[in-house]
Protein backbone atom coordinates (compact mmCIF):
# COMPACT_ATOMS: atom_id res chain seq x y z
CA UNK A 1 0.00 0.00 0.00
CA UNK A 2 1.59 3.26 -1.01
CA UNK A 3 1.96 5.97 1.57
CA UNK A 4 0.18 9.19 0.82
CA UNK A 5 3.21 11.43 0.92
CA UNK A 6 6.37 9.47 0.95
CA UNK A 7 7.06 8.52 -2.60
CA UNK A 8 8.98 5.48 -3.65
CA UNK A 9 9.18 1.80 -2.96
CA UNK A 10 5.76 0.79 -1.82
CA UNK A 11 6.61 -1.88 0.72
CA UNK A 12 8.05 -0.37 3.84
CA UNK A 13 11.52 -1.63 4.45
CA UNK A 14 12.19 -2.50 7.98
CA UNK A 15 14.91 0.06 8.24
CA UNK A 16 16.62 -1.72 11.08
CA UNK A 17 17.08 -5.00 9.36
CA UNK A 18 20.74 -4.99 8.39
CA UNK A 19 20.02 -7.53 5.69
CA UNK A 20 17.95 -4.97 3.87
CA UNK A 21 19.57 -1.57 4.08
CA UNK A 22 19.38 0.98 1.31
CA UNK A 23 22.39 0.89 -0.96
CA UNK A 24 22.73 4.64 -0.75
CA UNK A 25 21.20 7.25 1.54
CA UNK A 26 21.34 10.91 0.54
CA UNK A 27 20.70 13.69 3.05
CA UNK A 28 19.53 16.97 1.48
CA UNK A 29 17.42 17.48 -1.63
CA UNK A 30 19.01 20.71 -2.81
CA UNK A 31 20.91 20.93 -6.10
CA UNK A 32 23.69 18.63 -4.86
CA UNK A 33 21.51 16.03 -3.13
CA UNK A 34 18.97 15.80 -5.95
CA UNK A 35 21.74 15.22 -8.47
CA UNK A 36 23.41 12.65 -6.22
CA UNK A 37 20.19 10.74 -5.57
CA UNK A 38 19.01 10.47 -9.16
CA UNK A 39 22.51 9.59 -10.38
CA UNK A 40 22.88 6.80 -7.81
CA UNK A 41 19.40 5.49 -8.67
CA UNK A 42 20.22 5.58 -12.38
CA UNK A 43 23.27 3.52 -11.52
CA UNK A 44 20.97 0.76 -10.29
CA UNK A 45 21.21 1.40 -6.56
CA UNK A 46 18.35 1.54 -4.08
CA UNK A 47 18.31 5.09 -2.77
CA UNK A 48 16.77 6.86 0.21
CA UNK A 49 16.59 10.66 -0.15
CA UNK A 50 15.97 12.42 3.16
CA UNK A 51 15.31 16.15 3.31
CA UNK A 52 14.08 18.61 5.90
CA UNK A 53 12.35 20.57 3.15
CA UNK A 54 8.78 19.80 2.22
CA UNK A 55 9.51 20.11 -1.48
CA UNK A 56 12.67 19.24 -3.37
CA UNK A 57 15.01 22.02 -4.42
CA UNK A 58 16.88 23.07 -1.28
CA UNK A 59 17.72 26.72 -0.79
CA UNK A 60 18.35 27.47 -4.44
CA UNK A 61 15.21 26.10 -6.08
CA UNK A 62 12.79 27.20 -3.41
CA UNK A 63 9.26 27.49 -4.69
CA UNK A 64 5.76 27.95 -3.30
CA UNK A 65 3.65 24.84 -2.81
CA UNK A 66 1.56 23.69 -5.75
CA UNK A 67 -1.77 25.40 -6.34
CA UNK A 68 -4.78 23.57 -4.93
CA UNK A 69 -5.67 20.72 -7.22
CA UNK A 70 -2.27 20.24 -8.82
CA UNK A 71 0.52 18.05 -7.58
CA UNK A 72 4.12 18.84 -6.78
CA UNK A 73 6.27 17.96 -9.72
CA UNK A 74 3.87 19.06 -12.42
CA UNK A 75 5.80 21.38 -14.60
CA UNK A 76 4.11 24.45 -13.26
CA UNK A 77 6.91 25.22 -10.85
CA UNK A 78 8.63 28.45 -11.73
CA UNK A 79 11.89 28.99 -9.99
CA UNK A 80 13.99 32.07 -10.23
CA UNK A 81 16.96 30.54 -11.91
CA UNK A 82 18.08 27.60 -13.99
CA UNK A 83 14.59 26.16 -14.05
CA UNK A 84 15.35 23.77 -16.89
CA UNK A 85 17.94 21.96 -14.85
CA UNK A 86 15.58 21.76 -11.90
CA UNK A 87 12.79 20.42 -14.10
CA UNK A 88 15.12 17.72 -15.45
CA UNK A 89 16.17 16.69 -11.95
CA UNK A 90 12.57 16.54 -10.75
CA UNK A 91 11.59 14.46 -13.76
CA UNK A 92 14.42 12.06 -13.00
CA UNK A 93 13.35 11.97 -9.35
CA UNK A 94 9.75 11.13 -10.30
CA UNK A 95 10.98 8.50 -12.75
CA UNK A 96 13.10 6.65 -10.21
CA UNK A 97 10.42 6.94 -7.55
CA UNK A 98 7.91 5.40 -9.97
CA UNK A 99 10.32 2.56 -10.70
CA UNK A 100 10.64 1.88 -6.99
CA UNK A 101 14.36 2.59 -6.92
CA UNK A 102 14.20 5.77 -4.94
CA UNK A 103 12.39 6.60 -1.72
CA UNK A 104 11.93 10.33 -1.21
CA UNK A 105 11.28 11.21 2.41
CA UNK A 106 10.63 14.98 2.62
CA UNK A 107 9.88 16.89 5.82
CA UNK A 108 12.33 14.86 7.90
CA UNK A 109 15.35 16.29 9.64
CA UNK A 110 18.26 14.02 10.32
CA UNK A 111 19.55 14.61 13.81
CA UNK A 112 22.11 11.84 14.18
CA UNK A 113 24.24 9.75 11.85
CA UNK A 114 26.50 6.99 13.11
CA UNK A 115 28.53 4.29 11.46
CA UNK A 116 29.10 0.65 12.32
CA UNK A 117 30.46 -2.37 10.52
CA UNK A 118 27.32 -2.69 8.37
CA UNK A 119 27.24 0.89 7.20
CA UNK A 120 25.37 3.97 8.38
CA UNK A 121 22.49 4.49 10.77
CA UNK A 122 20.46 7.58 10.10
CA UNK A 123 18.04 8.92 12.70
CA UNK A 124 15.43 11.43 11.64
CA UNK A 125 12.31 13.06 12.98
CA UNK A 126 9.48 14.74 11.11
CA UNK A 127 9.77 18.51 10.94
CA UNK A 128 6.07 18.68 11.77
CA UNK A 129 5.51 15.96 14.33
CA UNK A 130 2.13 14.96 15.57
CA UNK A 131 1.69 14.81 19.29
CA UNK A 132 3.81 11.71 19.90
CA UNK A 133 7.54 11.92 19.31
CA UNK A 134 8.56 9.73 16.41
CA UNK A 135 12.04 8.88 15.39
CA UNK A 136 12.75 6.95 12.25
CA UNK A 137 15.86 4.98 11.66
CA UNK A 138 17.23 4.02 8.29
CA UNK A 139 20.25 1.97 7.35
CA UNK A 140 22.42 2.43 4.31
CA UNK A 141 25.64 0.96 3.03
CA UNK A 142 26.78 4.26 1.55
CA UNK A 143 25.94 7.80 2.61
CA UNK A 144 26.05 11.00 0.57
CA UNK A 145 25.71 14.12 2.70
CA UNK A 146 24.51 17.25 0.88
CA UNK A 147 23.31 19.46 3.75
CA UNK A 148 24.02 22.82 2.13
CA UNK A 149 24.73 26.01 4.02
CA UNK A 150 23.18 28.78 6.08
CA UNK A 151 23.50 32.55 5.79
CA UNK A 152 26.73 33.65 7.43
CA UNK A 153 26.28 36.36 10.05
CA UNK A 154 28.31 38.88 11.99
CA UNK A 155 26.83 40.63 15.02
CA UNK A 156 26.30 44.37 14.82
CA UNK A 157 24.69 46.71 17.38
CA UNK A 158 20.92 46.38 17.08
CA UNK A 159 20.91 43.16 15.04
CA UNK A 160 18.61 41.41 17.50
CA UNK A 161 15.79 43.87 16.78
CA UNK A 162 12.78 42.36 15.01
CA UNK A 163 13.06 43.46 11.40
CA UNK A 164 16.69 42.42 11.07
CA UNK A 165 16.86 39.18 9.09
CA UNK A 166 19.31 36.95 7.35
CA UNK A 167 19.43 38.01 3.70
CA UNK A 168 18.72 34.50 2.43
CA UNK A 169 15.86 34.20 4.89
CA UNK A 170 14.20 37.38 3.63
CA UNK A 171 14.63 36.07 0.10
CA UNK A 172 13.26 32.67 1.07
CA UNK A 173 10.13 34.22 2.60
CA UNK A 174 9.35 35.82 -0.70
CA UNK A 175 10.39 32.95 -2.97
CA UNK A 176 8.81 30.22 -0.89
CA UNK A 177 5.62 31.85 0.28
CA UNK A 178 5.21 35.28 -1.23
CA UNK A 179 5.53 37.08 2.09
CA UNK A 180 7.42 40.38 2.17
CA UNK A 181 9.21 40.88 5.46
CA UNK A 182 9.47 44.67 5.00
CA UNK A 183 8.61 47.61 2.78
CA UNK A 184 11.72 49.78 3.09
CA UNK A 185 14.62 47.44 2.87
CA UNK A 186 18.35 47.70 3.36
CA UNK A 187 20.50 44.79 2.14
CA UNK A 188 23.99 44.67 3.63
CA UNK A 189 27.04 42.50 4.18
CA UNK A 190 29.14 41.18 1.34
CA UNK A 191 29.06 39.06 -1.79
CA UNK A 192 27.17 38.83 -5.06
CA UNK A 193 24.27 37.11 -3.31
CA UNK A 194 23.28 40.53 -1.90
CA UNK A 195 22.50 41.64 -5.45
CA UNK A 196 20.21 38.68 -5.93
CA UNK A 197 18.37 39.37 -2.67
CA UNK A 198 18.03 43.10 -3.35
CA UNK A 199 16.88 42.49 -6.91
CA UNK A 200 14.36 39.87 -5.82
CA UNK A 201 12.86 42.05 -3.10
CA UNK A 202 12.70 45.07 -5.41
CA UNK A 203 10.88 43.02 -8.05
CA UNK A 204 8.53 41.85 -5.31
CA UNK A 205 7.54 45.44 -4.65
CA UNK A 206 9.72 46.43 -1.71
CA UNK A 207 11.54 49.75 -1.79
CA UNK A 208 15.18 48.79 -1.52
CA UNK A 209 16.88 51.86 -0.10
CA UNK A 210 20.35 50.51 -0.59
CA UNK A 211 22.82 47.69 -0.92
CA UNK A 212 25.77 48.27 1.41
CA UNK A 213 28.60 46.07 0.21
CA UNK A 214 31.64 45.80 2.46
CA UNK A 215 33.87 44.71 -0.42
CA UNK A 216 35.15 46.63 -3.37
CA UNK A 217 34.34 45.74 -6.98
CA UNK A 218 37.97 46.44 -7.80
CA UNK A 219 38.87 43.30 -5.88
CA UNK A 220 37.43 41.33 -8.80
CA UNK A 221 39.63 43.02 -11.38
CA UNK A 222 42.69 40.95 -10.59
CA UNK A 223 40.63 37.76 -10.76
CA UNK A 224 39.09 38.02 -14.20
CA UNK A 225 40.58 34.77 -15.53
CA UNK A 226 38.62 32.80 -12.94
CA UNK A 227 35.45 34.69 -13.85
CA UNK A 228 35.96 34.02 -17.53
CA UNK A 229 35.91 30.27 -16.87
CA UNK A 230 32.27 30.45 -15.76
CA UNK A 231 30.58 32.91 -18.13
CA UNK A 232 27.12 31.99 -16.85
CA UNK A 233 27.99 33.43 -13.46
CA UNK A 234 29.08 36.73 -14.95
CA UNK A 235 25.88 36.92 -16.98
CA UNK A 236 23.83 36.18 -13.89
CA UNK A 237 25.62 38.95 -12.01
CA UNK A 238 25.00 41.44 -14.80
CA UNK A 239 21.33 40.51 -14.76
CA UNK A 240 21.10 41.44 -11.07
CA UNK A 241 22.93 44.70 -11.71
CA UNK A 242 20.42 45.57 -14.44
CA UNK A 243 17.51 44.81 -12.11
CA UNK A 244 18.96 47.06 -9.42
CA UNK A 245 19.54 49.84 -11.95
CA UNK A 246 15.95 49.57 -13.14
CA UNK A 247 14.71 49.97 -9.57
CA UNK A 248 17.25 52.74 -8.89
CA UNK A 249 18.74 50.93 -5.93
CA UNK A 250 21.81 52.76 -4.60
CA UNK A 251 24.79 50.41 -4.42
CA UNK A 252 27.49 51.53 -1.98
CA UNK A 253 30.80 49.70 -1.72
CA UNK A 254 33.25 49.57 1.18
CA UNK A 255 30.22 50.36 3.31
CA UNK A 256 28.86 48.46 6.32
CA UNK A 257 26.01 48.77 8.80
CA UNK A 258 27.53 50.45 11.86
CA UNK A 259 24.37 50.09 13.91
CA UNK A 260 20.69 49.27 13.63
CA UNK A 261 18.33 51.56 15.54
CA UNK A 262 14.89 51.01 17.00
CA UNK A 263 13.11 50.25 20.24
CA UNK A 264 10.92 47.20 19.70
CA UNK A 265 11.58 46.91 15.99
CA UNK A 266 13.90 48.28 13.36
CA UNK A 267 13.50 51.98 12.65
CA UNK A 268 16.74 52.92 10.88
CA UNK A 269 20.31 51.92 10.14
CA UNK A 270 23.53 53.94 10.09
CA UNK A 271 26.36 53.22 7.66
CA UNK A 272 30.11 53.43 8.04
CA UNK A 273 32.86 53.42 5.45
CA UNK A 274 35.59 50.84 5.72
CA UNK A 275 39.17 52.07 5.56
CA UNK A 276 41.93 50.28 3.67
CA UNK A 277 42.56 48.02 6.66
CA UNK A 278 38.91 46.99 6.79
CA UNK A 279 38.10 49.08 9.87
CA UNK A 280 34.80 50.94 10.09
CA UNK A 281 34.85 54.73 10.34
CA UNK A 282 32.34 56.83 12.28
CA UNK A 283 28.62 56.17 11.79
CA UNK A 284 26.87 58.22 9.11
CA UNK A 285 23.32 59.58 9.01
CA UNK A 286 20.31 57.46 9.87
CA UNK A 287 18.57 55.79 6.96
CA UNK A 288 14.95 54.91 7.81
CA UNK A 289 14.14 51.24 7.07
CA UNK A 290 11.82 48.55 8.38
CA UNK A 291 13.86 45.54 7.20
CA UNK A 292 17.61 45.04 7.31
CA UNK A 293 18.70 41.92 5.40
CA UNK A 294 22.22 40.86 6.41
CA UNK A 295 24.47 38.34 4.75
CA UNK A 296 28.22 37.69 4.83
CA UNK A 297 28.27 34.72 2.50
CA UNK A 298 27.35 31.26 3.74
CA UNK A 299 28.40 28.87 6.45
CA UNK A 300 28.36 25.22 5.36
CA UNK A 301 26.27 22.96 7.61
CA UNK A 302 28.83 20.52 8.93
CA UNK A 303 27.08 18.92 11.89
CA UNK A 304 26.41 15.60 10.15
CA UNK A 305 29.90 15.15 8.65
CA UNK A 306 31.42 16.13 12.00
CA UNK A 307 29.26 13.57 13.83
CA UNK A 308 31.00 10.95 11.69
CA UNK A 309 34.42 12.48 12.28
CA UNK A 310 35.07 13.48 8.66
CA UNK A 311 38.28 15.42 8.06
CA UNK A 312 37.87 19.14 7.42
CA UNK A 313 39.85 22.12 6.17
CA UNK A 314 39.51 25.90 6.06
CA UNK A 315 38.26 27.21 2.72
CA UNK A 316 39.20 30.52 1.05
CA UNK A 317 36.26 32.26 2.75
CA UNK A 318 37.44 31.11 6.18
CA UNK A 319 34.66 28.53 6.48
CA UNK A 320 35.16 25.04 7.79
CA UNK A 321 34.43 22.55 4.97
CA UNK A 322 34.73 18.79 4.50
CA UNK A 323 37.84 17.58 2.74
CA UNK A 324 36.97 15.38 -0.26
CA UNK A 325 38.95 13.61 -2.96
CA UNK A 326 38.38 13.84 -6.71
CA UNK A 327 35.31 11.61 -6.41
CA UNK A 328 33.76 13.63 -3.56
CA UNK A 329 34.74 10.95 -1.03
CA UNK A 330 35.39 12.02 2.55
CA UNK A 331 38.05 10.19 4.53
CA UNK A 332 35.42 7.92 6.13
CA UNK A 333 34.79 4.69 4.20
CA UNK A 334 31.39 4.82 2.47
CA UNK A 335 30.92 8.55 2.97
CA UNK A 336 30.59 11.08 0.15
CA UNK A 337 29.94 14.80 0.60
CA UNK A 338 28.78 17.25 -2.09
CA UNK A 339 27.54 20.81 -2.41
CA UNK A 340 28.18 23.73 -0.07
CA UNK A 341 29.48 21.43 2.69
CA UNK A 342 32.67 20.89 0.67
CA UNK A 343 33.09 24.62 -0.02
CA UNK A 344 30.56 27.35 -0.76
CA UNK A 345 30.25 27.69 -4.52
CA UNK A 346 26.60 27.75 -5.57
CA UNK A 347 24.04 25.52 -7.17
CA UNK A 348 25.73 24.64 -10.48
CA UNK A 349 28.81 23.46 -8.62
CA UNK A 350 26.57 21.50 -6.28
CA UNK A 351 24.87 19.70 -9.16
CA UNK A 352 28.24 18.74 -10.67
CA UNK A 353 29.58 17.51 -7.34
CA UNK A 354 26.38 15.65 -6.52
CA UNK A 355 26.43 13.91 -9.89
CA UNK A 356 30.02 12.84 -9.42
CA UNK A 357 29.30 11.62 -5.89
CA UNK A 358 26.27 9.68 -7.15
CA UNK A 359 28.34 7.99 -9.86
CA UNK A 360 31.09 7.10 -7.45
CA UNK A 361 28.75 5.85 -4.71
CA UNK A 362 26.93 3.68 -7.26
CA UNK A 363 30.24 2.16 -8.26
CA UNK A 364 30.00 3.54 -11.79
CA UNK A 365 33.10 4.41 -13.76
CA UNK A 366 34.46 7.80 -12.80
CA UNK A 367 37.19 7.86 -15.43
CA UNK A 368 35.20 8.26 -18.65
CA UNK A 369 34.50 11.34 -20.69
CA UNK A 370 31.37 12.33 -18.74
CA UNK A 371 33.23 12.16 -15.45
CA UNK A 372 36.12 14.16 -16.91
CA UNK A 373 33.69 16.84 -18.02
CA UNK A 374 32.19 16.93 -14.53
CA UNK A 375 35.62 17.38 -13.00
CA UNK A 376 36.44 20.19 -15.40
CA UNK A 377 33.19 21.93 -14.50
CA UNK A 378 33.88 21.48 -10.80
CA UNK A 379 37.37 22.93 -11.21
CA UNK A 380 36.07 25.98 -13.09
CA UNK A 381 33.37 26.66 -10.49
CA UNK A 382 35.83 26.18 -7.64
CA UNK A 383 38.16 28.74 -9.23
CA UNK A 384 35.26 31.15 -9.56
CA UNK A 385 34.20 30.55 -5.96
CA UNK A 386 37.72 31.19 -4.77
CA UNK A 387 37.85 34.50 -6.64
CA UNK A 388 34.51 35.42 -5.09
CA UNK A 389 35.64 34.53 -1.58
CA UNK A 390 38.85 36.52 -1.90
CA UNK A 391 36.99 39.53 -3.28
CA UNK A 392 34.40 39.45 -0.48
CA UNK A 393 36.18 38.70 2.78
CA UNK A 394 34.90 39.35 6.27
CA UNK A 395 36.38 42.83 6.93
CA UNK A 396 39.54 42.49 9.01
CA UNK A 397 38.41 45.17 11.45
CA UNK A 398 34.79 44.03 11.80
CA UNK A 399 34.91 43.60 15.57
CA UNK A 400 35.55 47.36 15.91
CA UNK A 401 31.85 47.94 15.29
CA UNK A 402 30.85 45.88 18.33
CA UNK A 403 29.93 47.68 21.53
CA UNK A 404 30.23 46.11 24.96
CA UNK A 405 26.52 45.41 25.10
CA UNK A 406 26.20 44.11 21.53
CA UNK A 407 24.70 40.63 21.69
CA UNK A 408 26.97 38.06 20.03
CA UNK A 409 24.99 34.90 20.83
CA UNK A 410 21.33 35.62 20.11
CA UNK A 411 20.01 32.54 21.92
CA UNK A 412 21.83 32.91 25.22
CA UNK A 413 22.16 36.71 24.90
CA UNK A 414 25.89 36.70 25.54
CA UNK A 415 27.32 40.14 24.80
CA UNK A 416 30.66 41.21 23.36
CA UNK A 417 32.00 42.34 26.74
CA UNK A 418 31.35 38.89 28.22
CA UNK A 419 33.14 37.19 25.34
CA UNK A 420 36.08 39.53 25.77
CA UNK A 421 36.15 38.96 29.52
CA UNK A 422 36.39 35.22 28.93
CA UNK A 423 39.82 35.95 27.50
CA UNK A 424 40.91 38.97 29.51
CA UNK A 425 39.96 37.78 32.96
CA UNK A 426 39.51 34.03 32.59
CA UNK A 427 42.29 33.33 30.12
CA UNK A 428 40.22 31.60 27.43
CA UNK A 429 42.22 31.64 24.22
CA UNK A 430 40.26 29.35 21.96
CA UNK A 431 36.65 29.13 20.83
CA UNK A 432 35.86 25.96 22.70
CA UNK A 433 36.86 27.45 26.04
CA UNK A 434 35.03 30.72 25.32
CA UNK A 435 31.94 28.69 24.56
CA UNK A 436 32.16 26.66 27.74
CA UNK A 437 32.76 29.73 29.93
CA UNK A 438 30.16 32.04 28.43
CA UNK A 439 27.52 29.71 26.89
CA UNK A 440 28.11 31.63 23.65
CA UNK A 441 26.86 29.29 20.93
CA UNK A 442 25.20 26.87 23.33
CA UNK A 443 21.56 27.89 22.98
CA UNK A 444 18.81 26.49 20.82
CA UNK A 445 20.60 27.11 17.51
CA UNK A 446 23.77 25.47 18.84
CA UNK A 447 26.00 28.14 17.36
CA UNK A 448 24.57 28.04 13.85
CA UNK A 449 24.19 31.83 13.92
CA UNK A 450 27.00 33.07 16.19
CA UNK A 451 29.52 30.28 15.54
CA UNK A 452 31.68 32.22 13.11
CA UNK A 453 31.69 35.34 15.30
CA UNK A 454 32.57 33.32 18.39
CA UNK A 455 35.47 31.66 16.60
CA UNK A 456 36.71 34.95 15.14
CA UNK A 457 36.44 36.81 18.45
CA UNK A 458 38.12 34.06 20.45
CA UNK A 459 41.12 34.00 18.12
CA UNK A 460 41.21 37.80 17.78
CA UNK A 461 41.36 38.25 21.55
CA UNK A 462 44.08 35.64 21.72
CA UNK A 463 46.02 37.65 19.15
CA UNK A 464 46.10 35.02 16.41
CA UNK A 465 44.28 33.89 13.28
CA UNK A 466 41.28 31.56 13.64
CA UNK A 467 42.11 27.88 13.32
CA UNK A 468 40.21 24.84 12.19
CA UNK A 469 39.79 23.92 15.84
CA UNK A 470 38.12 27.26 16.63
CA UNK A 471 35.62 26.74 13.84
CA UNK A 472 35.05 23.08 14.60
CA UNK A 473 34.28 23.98 18.22
CA UNK A 474 31.34 26.06 17.06
CA UNK A 475 30.24 23.82 14.17
CA UNK A 476 30.08 20.44 15.92
CA UNK A 477 26.63 19.56 17.22
CA UNK A 478 26.06 16.33 19.14
CA UNK A 479 22.47 16.42 17.88
CA UNK A 480 21.97 18.17 14.57
CA UNK A 481 18.54 19.38 15.72
CA UNK A 482 17.03 19.62 19.18
CA UNK A 483 15.00 16.51 19.87
CA UNK A 484 12.71 15.72 22.72
CA UNK A 485 13.65 13.42 25.54
CA UNK A 486 11.07 10.98 24.23
CA UNK A 487 12.87 10.79 20.91
CA UNK A 488 16.17 10.21 22.62
CA UNK A 489 14.59 7.56 24.81
CA UNK A 490 13.41 5.72 21.71
CA UNK A 491 17.03 5.25 20.77
CA UNK A 492 17.33 2.99 23.76
CA UNK A 493 20.57 2.00 25.33
CA UNK A 494 21.86 -0.13 22.54
CA UNK A 495 23.40 2.80 20.68
CA UNK A 496 25.18 4.00 23.79
CA UNK A 497 26.44 7.52 24.03
CA UNK A 498 23.35 9.14 25.43
CA UNK A 499 23.36 6.82 28.39
CA UNK A 500 20.94 6.68 31.23
CA UNK A 501 21.32 10.34 32.17
CA UNK A 502 19.49 11.86 29.26
CA UNK A 503 16.71 9.36 29.32
CA UNK A 504 16.52 9.36 33.08
CA UNK A 505 16.30 13.14 33.21
CA UNK A 506 13.31 12.98 30.94
CA UNK A 507 11.52 10.33 32.85
CA UNK A 508 12.40 11.60 36.29
Amino acid sequence: MPTPVESGTSELRDPRDPRDPFDVAVVGAGPAGLAAAVTAAAGGRSVLLLDAGERPGGQFWRHPPPAPGSAEGEDTVRVHHDGARFAALRRALAHHVARGRLTHRPGHQVWLVTRDEDGFLIESTPVHPGTAPVTRRARARALILCPGAADRQLPVPGWTLPGVMAAGGAQALWQGQRALAGRRVLVAGTGPFLLSVAGGLAEAGARVVGVWEAGSPRAWASRLPAVARVPAKAVEGLGHVATLARHRVPYLTRTVVREVLGEDRVRAARPARLDAAGRPGPAGDEVPVDLVALGWGFTPSLELPLQLGAATRLDADGSLVVTVDDEQRADIPGLWVAGEATGVGGAALGVAEGTLAGLSAAGRPTEGRAARRLRARIAAHRAFARAMHLAHPVPAGWSDWLRDDTVVCRCEEVDAATVRAAHDTLGADDARTVKMLTRCGMGWCQGRVCGLATALLASHHAGRAPTEADLAATAARPLAFPVTLGELAELGDEEGGFGGDAVGAGEG
Binding site: G169, R178, R265, C445, L479, A502
Partner: protein
Protein backbone atom coordinates in the same frame (compact mmCIF):
# COMPACT_ATOMS: atom_id res chain seq x y z
CA UNK B 1 10.85 1.47 23.50
CA UNK B 2 12.63 1.39 20.29
CA UNK B 3 10.24 -0.57 18.17
CA UNK B 4 10.97 0.41 14.66
CA UNK B 5 8.07 -1.31 13.08
CA UNK B 6 5.78 0.63 15.31
CA UNK B 7 7.41 3.96 14.67
CA UNK B 8 7.66 3.17 11.01
CA UNK B 9 4.01 2.31 10.69
CA UNK B 10 3.06 5.27 12.78
CA UNK B 11 4.96 7.56 10.46
CA UNK B 12 3.43 6.00 7.46
CA UNK B 13 -0.12 6.57 8.42
CA UNK B 14 0.52 9.96 9.91
CA UNK B 15 2.72 11.47 7.32
CA UNK B 16 0.03 13.28 5.41
CA UNK B 17 -0.85 15.43 8.37
CA UNK B 18 2.73 16.31 9.13
CA UNK B 19 4.87 16.42 6.09
CA UNK B 20 4.89 16.92 2.41
CA UNK B 21 2.16 18.45 0.41
CA UNK B 22 0.24 21.12 2.28
CA UNK B 23 -3.04 20.57 0.55
CA UNK B 24 -3.09 16.99 1.73
CA UNK B 25 -2.10 18.04 5.20
CA UNK B 26 -5.00 20.43 5.31
CA UNK B 27 -7.30 17.90 3.81
CA UNK B 28 -6.63 15.67 6.76
CA UNK B 29 -7.92 18.32 9.06
CA UNK B 30 -11.38 18.06 7.59
CA UNK B 31 -13.72 20.82 6.59
CA UNK B 32 -11.18 23.63 6.79
CA UNK B 33 -9.05 21.97 4.18
CA UNK B 34 -11.93 21.49 1.78
CA UNK B 35 -12.88 25.10 2.04
CA UNK B 36 -9.33 26.06 1.29
CA UNK B 37 -9.36 24.15 -1.94
CA UNK B 38 -12.32 26.17 -3.17
CA UNK B 39 -10.92 29.58 -2.39
CA UNK B 40 -7.98 29.37 -4.68
CA UNK B 41 -5.11 31.69 -4.00
CA UNK B 42 -7.23 34.06 -1.91
CA UNK B 43 -6.40 35.02 1.65
CA UNK B 44 -8.61 32.27 2.81
CA UNK B 45 -7.18 31.15 6.13
CA UNK B 46 -7.57 32.72 9.53
CA UNK B 47 -5.03 32.31 12.32
CA UNK B 48 -5.66 33.35 15.91
CA UNK B 49 -2.63 35.06 17.35
CA UNK B 50 -2.96 35.91 21.01
CA UNK B 51 -6.68 36.40 20.51
CA UNK B 52 -6.34 38.46 17.35
CA UNK B 53 -7.50 37.17 13.95
CA UNK B 54 -4.84 37.23 11.22
CA UNK B 55 -5.30 36.35 7.57
CA UNK B 56 -2.98 33.81 5.94
CA UNK B 57 -2.63 32.48 2.45
CA UNK B 58 -2.55 28.79 1.68
CA UNK B 59 1.04 27.65 1.48
CA UNK B 60 2.31 30.27 3.91
CA UNK B 61 3.98 29.34 7.12
CA UNK B 62 2.82 30.81 10.38
CA UNK B 63 5.88 33.06 10.36
CA UNK B 64 5.22 34.22 6.81
CA UNK B 65 1.63 35.03 7.67
CA UNK B 66 2.66 36.94 10.79
CA UNK B 67 5.19 39.17 9.05
CA UNK B 68 2.89 39.66 6.06
CA UNK B 69 0.30 40.92 8.56
CA UNK B 70 2.87 43.32 10.00
CA UNK B 71 3.58 41.34 13.19
CA UNK B 72 7.36 41.34 13.48
CA UNK B 73 7.79 39.95 17.00
CA UNK B 74 6.00 37.38 19.14
CA UNK B 75 8.49 36.07 21.60
CA UNK B 76 10.35 37.64 24.52
CA UNK B 77 13.84 36.51 25.40
CA UNK B 78 14.48 34.88 28.72
CA UNK B 79 17.50 36.94 29.76
CA UNK B 80 16.87 40.49 28.62
CA UNK B 81 13.15 40.36 27.92
CA UNK B 82 13.65 41.53 24.34
CA UNK B 83 11.19 40.94 21.49
CA UNK B 84 12.01 38.46 18.72
CA UNK B 85 10.44 37.27 15.50
CA UNK B 86 11.92 35.79 12.32
CA UNK B 87 15.65 35.93 11.78
CA UNK B 88 17.05 33.09 9.63
CA UNK B 89 13.71 32.30 8.01
CA UNK B 90 14.71 28.69 7.31
CA UNK B 91 14.45 26.82 10.59
CA UNK B 92 17.99 27.13 11.93
CA UNK B 93 18.05 29.99 14.46
CA UNK B 94 15.04 29.10 16.67
CA UNK B 95 14.33 32.80 17.25
CA UNK B 96 10.79 32.41 15.96
CA UNK B 97 9.49 29.84 18.46
CA UNK B 98 5.84 29.93 19.43
CA UNK B 99 3.11 27.61 20.64
CA UNK B 100 0.83 26.26 17.93
CA UNK B 101 -2.46 24.69 18.98
CA UNK B 102 -0.93 23.90 22.34
CA UNK B 103 2.27 22.42 20.92
CA UNK B 104 5.15 24.45 22.40
CA UNK B 105 8.40 25.52 20.75
CA UNK B 106 7.30 25.25 17.13
CA UNK B 107 9.37 27.15 14.58
CA UNK B 108 7.02 29.72 13.05
CA UNK B 109 9.11 29.90 9.89
CA UNK B 110 8.51 26.19 9.18
CA UNK B 111 5.02 25.60 10.56
CA UNK B 112 2.43 25.50 7.76
CA UNK B 113 -0.52 27.82 8.40
CA UNK B 114 -3.76 25.92 8.90
CA UNK B 115 -7.15 27.56 9.13
CA UNK B 116 -8.25 28.12 12.71
CA UNK B 117 -4.79 27.61 14.20
CA UNK B 118 -4.24 29.11 17.64
CA UNK B 119 -0.88 30.78 18.15
CA UNK B 120 0.37 31.72 21.59
CA UNK B 121 3.65 32.98 22.92
CA UNK B 122 6.22 30.38 23.89
CA UNK B 123 8.57 31.01 26.74
CA UNK B 124 11.60 28.92 25.94
CA UNK B 125 13.01 27.09 28.88
CA UNK B 126 9.60 25.98 30.08
CA UNK B 127 10.12 22.91 27.97
CA UNK B 128 13.73 21.82 28.35
CA UNK B 129 15.27 20.21 25.35
CA UNK B 130 17.21 17.02 25.43
CA UNK B 131 20.73 18.35 25.06
CA UNK B 132 20.27 20.76 27.96
CA UNK B 133 19.27 17.85 30.11
CA UNK B 134 22.12 15.67 28.96
CA UNK B 135 25.46 17.01 30.09
CA UNK B 136 27.07 14.04 28.37
CA UNK B 137 25.91 15.19 25.00
CA UNK B 138 28.14 18.23 24.96
CA UNK B 139 31.21 16.39 25.94
CA UNK B 140 31.00 14.13 22.94
Amino acid sequence: MNDDRRTGDHSRTDDASRTGDHSRAHGDRGAHGDRRAEEEGARSLTLHFEGRALPARPGQTVGGALVAAGVTAWRTTRGRGRPRGLFCGIGLCFDCLLTVDGRPDRRACLEPAVDGMRLTVTNPGEHPRADEEAPDADAR
